[in-house]
Symmetry: D2
Subunit: 356 residues, 4 copies
């Protein structure tokens, strides 16, 4: 269970890193929508491994194939099947002879849940599963763009303790992609890239934070109570491997403020909508969008796969020293997480749009 | 839509602050479970208004009534209906003559969604709805306790900028309830209570943070991909009115660490489970519980209702000065949020338990 | 589980015959809809016991109370809570000393599922639960009427082997209610009523068939594949206690025809729609409505509660003679099933309308 | 929407007859189950076209490919992806120049729903979609067999007006497959096969009825209220293209009986279960299985595609004579519907088993 997301615009993913491939089925996408496979592939390319020396050197084509639901470049209203074949099969992912669960990986918890001893949950807990989400999310983005020009941009706003300054009103994907680390603040990006290379060379890893803005989202999207826009965004982000935290608008910092400082006064806005002069709400009030940009942040832990020796125990509870020697791991996941965060945001918004 | 939560153990809430009452239907609760209405009422009492001078002085009995699904103190396996009648009807909540949307309230967004001009979404966005969640969550807790002794404790860990030190391994609800502010660190509680009285006396409000620990949760609960334990907890918390942020385990701070610092080495544990020597994971790895305590934090903004004058605009976009003169509002929501956070955590865990 | 029905317009029922009452929560009903409690009550009255000498003589007021979601006669867009209190509490329904499961009742199967020995599944399998469905369905009807004038009429078309002739194009609820047996063909109704009195006087019971027509349903409602209009109608009907069969359009008889006889040729229709010259399809093609009247039939078995002696075994497997002496049971359920069938049809159509 | 079925054991299908292929994703299948691809292929082969002169002469390999969720012959507990590639692409299915909607096909209703003018809903309403269901259902059968030896057998019990006599207690798939028409009563089969050849040679088609028995289903499966076993079976059957009617146990005929004739007296059964001496209930009481064989019937209309000339109108409402000249259509769908009915029954039972 748990492989589906959304109520009306609903995505289900399948596939493991060691099998035929990973894929997604999107049900509830309107008919007669124009679909660009190129635009989907472009987002998939931003996620794929091997893009720079900051990410894993593993190469994978990550070619997205449309299995169903689209004909002559238009949606049929039927489920859209998307498949990304595995070309680098990694048989080691399903290695039952694995002696010890790797610290802070899902090896141990999948064993307890499914009774299967396997790396990365037999390849399902592998970050590779997110290739399917990115394809589905890129599709959702096309729906949102055609519906009302929704514009979603995520970027790396922090690596380790290195922060950055970015204008949420104007930042574009071109700005973000101008740097390998995907931080559009160049001074910060210099430091971030140096830091990632440093931890990489030490066989270690480092965490980071992404910020995401969704512009041109109309007021009135979101379901009250359990499916508040911010609640679904929180679920969506925490469902990404390695994500440990989420905040919207003022977030944790806002909890230190007084109401007189935090409230967002309304302004006259445009013909049909009011605006607000500040945006501590982050674009949502009471779970429903207010027409202001949705701004949120998601924190990612340092990747659990490191080359440093680790003192741990094996499945029998006996002390062992674990030393991973093979290479090809990401020293920092946040650059490649950018399209994943954007895609999950798009999936949330597409589903809320269908219920608005 | 969006008034239901959970896949197998599933709660649906209904009711507005101005009508007959608020309630919840819980479907998917096993048969033959012993139910204590007293225990449910005890949690409801911890949420109800008027408990101390730190909260609103409005009085509401918040008596929980079981409508169905329980007979002779045992569940039947059928849907359990729970009702909390309104005794303080607040007709003003549904005041169509309201001229201006209150800043950072849901007045404006509900209007955009439903076309209805009303305070607090006609009383549905009112915090009163959480009375239903607390009743349902208290029921979920009884299931979890009888199943495997799950123990959930939340407390106020920060008010404004005032932090606290609490031992997550031993803290109890009795400790928490020993202080009106529900912070078991007495030195911190002194400062927090003083701060809340100060902002209250100034007609202002203040935000805060809750920490919650879930102990005795077995390894193996949680669904991979979209329904990860941490993802559902994030959704659950962000679905609480005024919650703006969530983090599990090391959270935002963990994103500054290196993998060699952040990874939780395994230890021999007990007969059937491994443990970990640190708990940066916060009790979950890859979306599935690992048997360690689940620890998370949720941040709440300062209440939007303040007595200070606010410069804003009315629905027509014309500048107005908004000055709320009536009283009886919470200057800080976190003390009363304690049972709400515990209840939402219980609803998440009960649903995962039913799928384990 | 299984207490909810619908994807977007979604009803959840709760309550047992021996407790506080039965009720329903309707989520997904649009805001700003005008609601007549009188119209809801009128349908509830058509279902309630004691309407004529053909039905049980038990008296129950069946007063519908709106708990939430409606204010000043209009829906808020929030969940609508409906409650029908029990006034005739029937404690015997939950009689653990019951020695033998009653033949063709749910006593035995509920025991196997829930481990609870109780009459009528502790009162949940009681037909009383349908009072909640009728209230929710009457609400759905008001939505459908305001949306596009949908008109749903069911009637008793057969009792035992006694059939009838009714014009599906013109039959009205007034016609149906002109007879206690709810068959608008008076000659047939005479025979049906006589038959029911006859079996009643012999302490026996008899089955029957309902036909239902839904007029003014636009073309284009229904989801392909699993949620075809006819599939959801079939589920809806078979979910009614005692219903054993469903057919739409030509149904079982149509399976004897050739394609050249069965196909419905298109006709020019009106400005925006084509019609068909015959309606063997029953208003649906490929799971989607075609604008012609939806016509279906549902068969109900004879009530299992009879006064005749029955040779059966007790829970221990030992032969016993079961003789029910208390009275007040329906000798034939179909007259009271009329508003239940209409309500379930309305719930299906309202859900499809919300997805159209 | 509507492309998913089931609550816990949940299948989602995708694909059109003219694209890459059709497929299914099965979520909620337990881990560590042994999966035989051969057994899945065997069921797929029973559905595929070209098996005898009674069915379409179109040839399609219908090779089932497992995309995910199975490793080394065992399920991983993750979603199982199944793909059946199209080898006979039929571009004509998506022919926008189609002038007139074919009578009793889904051409017109899909146009009204999706705004797309295409044969067979762009290939989604094509019976080809059922290839995905059969693959998923064959998987569900393996789960049910390993769980408790559930044995599902369907057969053709009527073609046109030609009925048959079959022993539901002993009939096997080998018996069924001994005849091209899949009726194990040889005398009846002779007549059925002759009738099908006769209508085929006249360019016409004919309807028929399938009966299905599910043996070894334990008592206690099924959810009360809306997800009764019989309600889900009804939905499942009516969701199959061309199915117009469903009945369980005594069905329509039972509505003519008296309670004293219809009630199934209990018998001592075996060590853990009671039995019943008759089975008018068809294996379910109050929506829950009682341990007796589940027996139901499903009626299929004659295929809408015939070679006879048909007087109808085009999309503009103008009279046209429609004459289909190309061949390769099934004159009667029921022989090939046998594995589809079995598969849908298996999907229902697997889902109920997971909730039992």
């Amino acid at each position: 269970m748990g492989s589906s997301f959304g109520t009306v615009f609903r995505v289900s993913t399948f596939g493991e890193s060691h099998g035929v491939g990973v894929g997604a089925i999107v049900d509830g996408c309107p008919a007669q929508l124009e679909i660009s496979l190129e635009a989907i592939q472009a987002q998939a390319d931003r996620r794929k491994p091997g893009q720079s020396d900051l990410t894993t050197q593993r190469m994978e084509a990550d070619t997205v194939e449309i299995l169903s639901g689209v004909q002559n470049g238009k949606t049929l209203g039927t489920p859209i099947g998307l498949l990304v074949r595995n070309t680098d099969q990694r048989p080691g992912d399903y290695d039952e002879t694995l002696d010890a669960p790797r610290p802070s990986h899902a090896d141990y918890t999948y064993l307890k849940k499914y009774g299967v001893r396997a790396k990365s949950g037999g390849g399902r807990a592998s970050a590779r599963e997110t290739a399917a989400r990115v394809a589905a999310g890129a599709l959702a983005e096309q729906y949102l763009q055609q519906l009302c020009g929704v514009d979603i941009v995520a970027w790396v706003s922090q690596v380790g303790a290195i922060g950055s300054e970015v204008d949420v009103g104007t930042v574009s994907r071109a700005d973000v992609d101008s740097r390998a680390v995907r931080c559009p603040d160049h001074a910060a990006a210099d430091k971030m890239e140096a830091r990632i290379r440093e931890v990489r060379d030490e066989g270690d890893s480092i965490g980071g934070i992404l910020t995401c803005v969704c512009r041109n989202v109309p007021a009135g999207w979101g379901e009250p109570i359990f499916d508040k826009a911010e609640a679904l965004l929180a679920q969506a982000m925490l469902s990404i491997p390695a994500c440990k935290a989420f905040e919207i608008g003022s977030g944790f910092a806002g909890s230190q403020l007084r109401g007189s400082q935090h409230n967002d006064p309304f302004t006259s806005g445009d013909d049909t909508n009011l605006g607000t002069s500040t945006n501590n709400s982050g674009g949502v009030q009471g779970g429903i969008t207010n027409g202001m940009p949705i701004v949120f942040r998601a924190a990612f832990k340092p990747p659990a796969t490191i080359k440093c020796a680790q003192e741990t125990v094996n499945y029998a509870g006996q002390p062992v020293t674990l030393q991973v020697t093979e290479g090809r791991h990401d020293p920092c996941v946040v650059p490649r997480a950018v399209p994943i965060v954007e895609s999950m945001a798009a999936l949330v918004l597409a589903d809320l749009a269908r219920q608005a």
